[in-house]
């Protein structure tokens, strides 16, 4: 194609198609980003509804609302949906919207792959959710699906579960290949690696983690499939297999997976704090190195999830020390954020509120993580509500808050409208109170000895469980407000300027709000 023809394109053919087929056939990174974000929000509400079932049952000791068998299905699906359906697709959606605009590229490098990687997701979760209506019920072995509970002793729907995990994995791998190819090949002239915005860096690292570990997960579920249907004994001790092998494989995937769900959050938080402190981010290069170290360390700490399986002393010591080491780069990130705020010129719009809450509450989750790394103490914490409190602190006010912060921060760019500042502050405060009331007391009941994945509990845990349930319903209800705010912003509101925020830095703020359907058809120059 010659340059002469292309110069006419912008004016005539490049608007979005009309009707539903726009969304089915789209190869536009902004459309696909929106699809991912809406899909993830739907999953967040479904997984959240399951959490409400769990918390309602735990409101009081005794079985009131559901049977133990169904309770196990709820906690399994809640975990799977939140991890694979809500948090991961939300970050992929943000990457789709933002990475091309941040690096000055016209679109993702592989647009049709992009369409495919989104559109297989609804099928994966359709299959997973349909298992609720199957004979024997949905998967009931926890999101960690330890063999042999998930093989020999599993309900028949486990095969559908395996198929759906395969599809999710394929989607993630395609998505991350796309991100890597885009970042490596399509940066605007002058944008060296060490000039890339941190969100782009965080996604580059995340994408490599995904490519490294999703095949491992696929291997694990394939071995399960073989054990269940084809008479192998990978995880069956009676046939010469090893149930602990399953856990090693699962957590070799699972621990990097944890960082897949937090690294993009680091990127987002860095941008927001920098903007609202009106001061350049402190320690850019140490931020990059910290993310790289965290990613590399994530491959050598997996067995800290399995301190009680009976490993030799040397292994326990190694995994304890390696895990503690992660506190160093994580600490560097927190110190850098604080140093960015120090002597800044700070205002408190909603994205900043969420980002500050992220720093504080994620750090609390980091502290409990450090405590969990200490092997002898972990013998007491392991599989109690202390662990539940820990990972919810890093995932809810961690990952989820960062996603909400990102939505508030970039939604004026996406829609061209400002969100309702008053309502969004209310949303922040309700979520903040809700999340802490829900999860903070879980530290206490965990230390006092309440095991996780219990549908019922001894009487001394009754008070704090009641509080926790009250907090959970507050948090759940306030997300309906979030939905309302987002819809209101999509439909109208005060018009946003191209810069949107006073202190914002980055290429995405140089294009109009809303961002045109095609941006950076001609690459910008980065100095």
């Amino acid at each position: 194609m010659s340059a002469v023809i292309e110069s006419h394109h912008d004016d005539h053919h490049h608007g979005p198609a009309k009707g539903i087929m726009r969304w089915v056939l789209t190869t536009n990174h902004k459309d696909i980003g929106s699809l991912y974000l809406w899909f993830s929000f739907a999953m967040f509400l479904i997984g959240g509804a399951m959490a409400m079932v769990i918390r309602a049952e735990l409101f009081q000791p005794g079985m009131q609302i559901v049977e133990p068998a169904f309770y196990n299905q709820m906690l399994t699906l809640h975990g799977l949906i939140m991890v694979f359906g809500a948090v991961m697709p939300a970050f992929v959606g943000l990457a789709n919207w933002l990475v091309p605009m941040m690096i000055g590229a016209p679109d993702m490098a592989l647009p049709r792959l992009n369409n495919l990687s989104f559109w297989i997701l609804p099928f994966a979760f359709g299959i997973l959710l349909s298992s609720l209506f199957m004979e024997g019920g949905a998967p009931n072995f926890g999101w960690t699906f330890y063999a042999p509970l998930s093989t020999t002793y599993a309900p028949p729907s486990v095969t559908f579960f395996i198929f759906s995990v395969h599809i999710m994995g394929a989607s993630s791998i395609m998505g991350s290949i796309n991100v890597i190819v885009t970042i490596m090949n399509m940066r605007a002239p002058g944008m060296d690696l060490m000039k890339m915005p941190l969100f782009v860096w965080s996604w580059l690292i995340t994408a490599y983690l995904l490519i490294a570990v999703m095949p491992v997960l696929a291997g694990a579920v394939t071995m399960m499939l073989m054990d269940i249907h084809f008479g192998t004994s990978f995880f069956n001790a009676a046939g010469g297999g090893d149930p602990v092998l399953f856990q090693h494989i699962f957590w070799f995937f699972g621990h990097p997976e944890v960082y897949i769900m937090i690294l993009p959050a680091f990127g987002i938080t860095s941008h927001i704090i920098e903007t609202f402190a009106r001061k350049q981010l402190f320690g850019y290069s140490s931020m990059v190195w910290a993310m790289l170290s965290i990613a590399i360390l994530s491959f050598v700490v997996w067995a800290h999830h399995m301190f009680t399986v009976g490993m030799p002393l040397a292994a326990e010591l190694f995994f304890m020390w390696a895990t503690m080491l992660i506190a160093v780069p994580t600490g560097v990130k927190v110190f850098n954020w604080v140093a960015t705020m120090f002597r800044g010129s700070i205002t408190y719009e909603t994205p900043m509120l969420f980002a500050i809450a992220f720093v504080v509450l994620f750090t609390i989750g980091g502290f409990s993580g450090l405590m969990l790394a200490i092997t002898p103490a972990d013998f007491q914490y392991h599989d109690t509500y202390f662990v539940v409190a820990h990972f919810h602190y890093v995932l809810v006010p961690g990952s989820v808050f960062s996603i909400m912060a990102a939505v508030y921060y970039w939604i004026p760019k996406w829609t061209g409208n400002m969100y309702d500042e008053r309502l969004s502050r209310l949303h922040f405060w309700l979520s903040f109170v809700g999340v802490n009331v829900t999860f903070f007391p879980q530290h206490w009941i965990g230390l006092a000895g309440m095991p996780r994945r219990y549908p019922d509990y001894a009487l001394q845990f009754a008070d704090w469980n009641m509080v926790s349930t009250a907090g959970a319903f507050l948090f759940g209800a306030s997300q309906v407000l979030f939905l309302f705010i987002v819809l209101k912003t999509v439909l109208g509101g005060k018009k946003a300027t191209p810069e949107v925020w006073e202190g914002a830095r980055g290429l995405e703020w140089t294009v109009d709000s809303p961002a045109p359907y095609h941006t950076f058809s001609t690459p910008p120059k980065v100095s």
């Binding site: 009131q64 133990p68 024997g136 009931n140 330890y146 509970l149 402190f282 304890m320 503690m324 001394q460």
Partner: protein
């Protein structure tokens, strides 16, 4: 179903009402908010380690959040309209990499030391094999050739809120593990079906029970008493209903208990020889069924298909006595049904098979054939 929901709404309403009154009295119990110190040297070491790391975290948190909240209040746009421009400092960044590293080393030293103590795992004065089953524990005293199962003893009516809950709700068993005080006891922990985990907080022992593997743990308890714990690895439907209870007694009491357990075994052997009537077997079998079978096959014999098949009206329970016996003795390959050959005595085995062939109209609809303890003895003899 609807009646139950209705009752629940009522209890939820009343508890909300009462909840607003009791924060002051119930919430101030620190025991319910922190780790237990426990009753062994190891558990105290672990507790101290826990408190040490906790205080270090609190100190770091206070410092970091202190600087942060100071900045958030002091450097608002109103108070500091012109932001500073600094954005790196090699010295500072080096310092806050090195100092945390040193703090971590300071934590790792006592932690590694305690871990080594926990791994001092030579043979005990008493050695007990702990076996996890869905959903109960079996304890085998290896020196004394004693073994028994430990089942949850909380009544189903308490769980379903039909009667008030007792003090040790969900933390009580029909027969606790009994060990003597001030004696080194070693546990050899394994499982029969899925992975379980044996946890006694007061001993700081939590060790996974894994089918095909034997994990070890040891303890030396310093105070007599009753110590309660749980299964801590998701093991299926009744994961929350298989507590661990350990009764620690003085040496003399322990010795007497061992003797009485041995006498029990002799009495049981006599029962096996006895001639049993159908009525006797059925009534004993009902008790065995309630303890061992209802969790899956349900009191009504309807089971929870497709994983736990119904026994009422089942072809095997109606017409196939020998297959019925075989299933109980060998379990079912690739299914949730385990072998009960080592879990039930000959008498109980015969009784429960007889009961399930008589109950729920099975006797009327099927051949009504029944099994006596001698049949089980016969089955267990090696076949040539």
């Amino acid at each position: 179903m609807f009646q139950r929901l209705k009752n629940n709404y009522r209890t939820i309403f009343y508890s909300l009402l009462t909840a607003s009154f009791y924060p002051a009295k119930a919430f101030a119990q620190w025991d319910n908010m922190n780790m237990r110190e426990g009753v062994t040297q190891v558990s105290r070491d672990v507790f101290e380690l826990h408190m040490l790391i906790f205080y270090i975290c609190v100190a770091i948190g206070t410092l970091v959040f202190g600087v942060m909240f100071f900045s958030l209040f002091r450097y608002t746009k109103k108070r500091n309209p012109v932001p500073a421009t600094f954005h790196e400092s090699t010295k500072l960044e080096f310092a806050w990499t090195l100092v945390p590293f040193l703090i971590l080393v300071a934590m790792a030293v006592p932690a590694s030391k305690t871990l080594q103590d926990i791994y001092q795992d030579e043979e005990g004065e008493i050695n007990i094999q702990v076996v996890g089953y869905q959903w109960k524990w079996e304890y085998k005293y290896l020196e004394d050739d004693i073994n028994f199962f430990s089942n949850l003893s909380t009544d189903q009516d308490e769980i379903y809120n039909l009667v008030p809950k007792g003090e040790n709700y969900l933390l009580e068993v029909d027969e606790p593990l009994i060990i003597p005080v001030n004696t080194r006891v070693r546990f050899l922990i394994t499982a029969n079906d899925v992975i379980h985990s044996w946890w006694v907080p007061d001993f700081a022992i939590k060790q996974d029970a894994i089918p095909g593997f034997i994990n070890t743990a040891w303890t030396k308890v310093e105070e007599p008493g009753i110590y309660r714990g749980n299964c801590t690895e998701l093991c299926g439907k009744n994961h929350g209903f298989m507590p661990v209870v350990v009764k620690v007694v003085e040496q003399e009491e322990y010795d007497n208990w061992i003797i009485s357990k041995k006498n029990e075994a002799i009495k049981l052997a006599e029962l096996t020889e006895k001639e049993w009537s159908l009525a006797e077997l059925t009534s004993r079998g009902e008790g065995v069924y309630e303890k061992n079978c209802v969790a899956c096959h349900q009191a009504s014999g309807q089971g929870m298909p497709p994983i736990f098949p119904a026994l009422a009206g089942s072809e095997i329970a109606l017409y196939d006595k020998s297959r019925h016996l075989e299933i109980l003795m060998e379990g079912v390959q690739g299914a949730a049904m385990q072998s009960y050959a080592n879990q039930l005595s000959e008498v109980d085995m015969a009784a429960v098979i007889t009961y399930t062939r008589q109950a729920w109209g099975n006797a009327e609809n099927g051949d009504g054939a029944y099994v006596v303890p001698k049949d089980i003895v016969e089955y267990k003899k090696p076949k040539i």
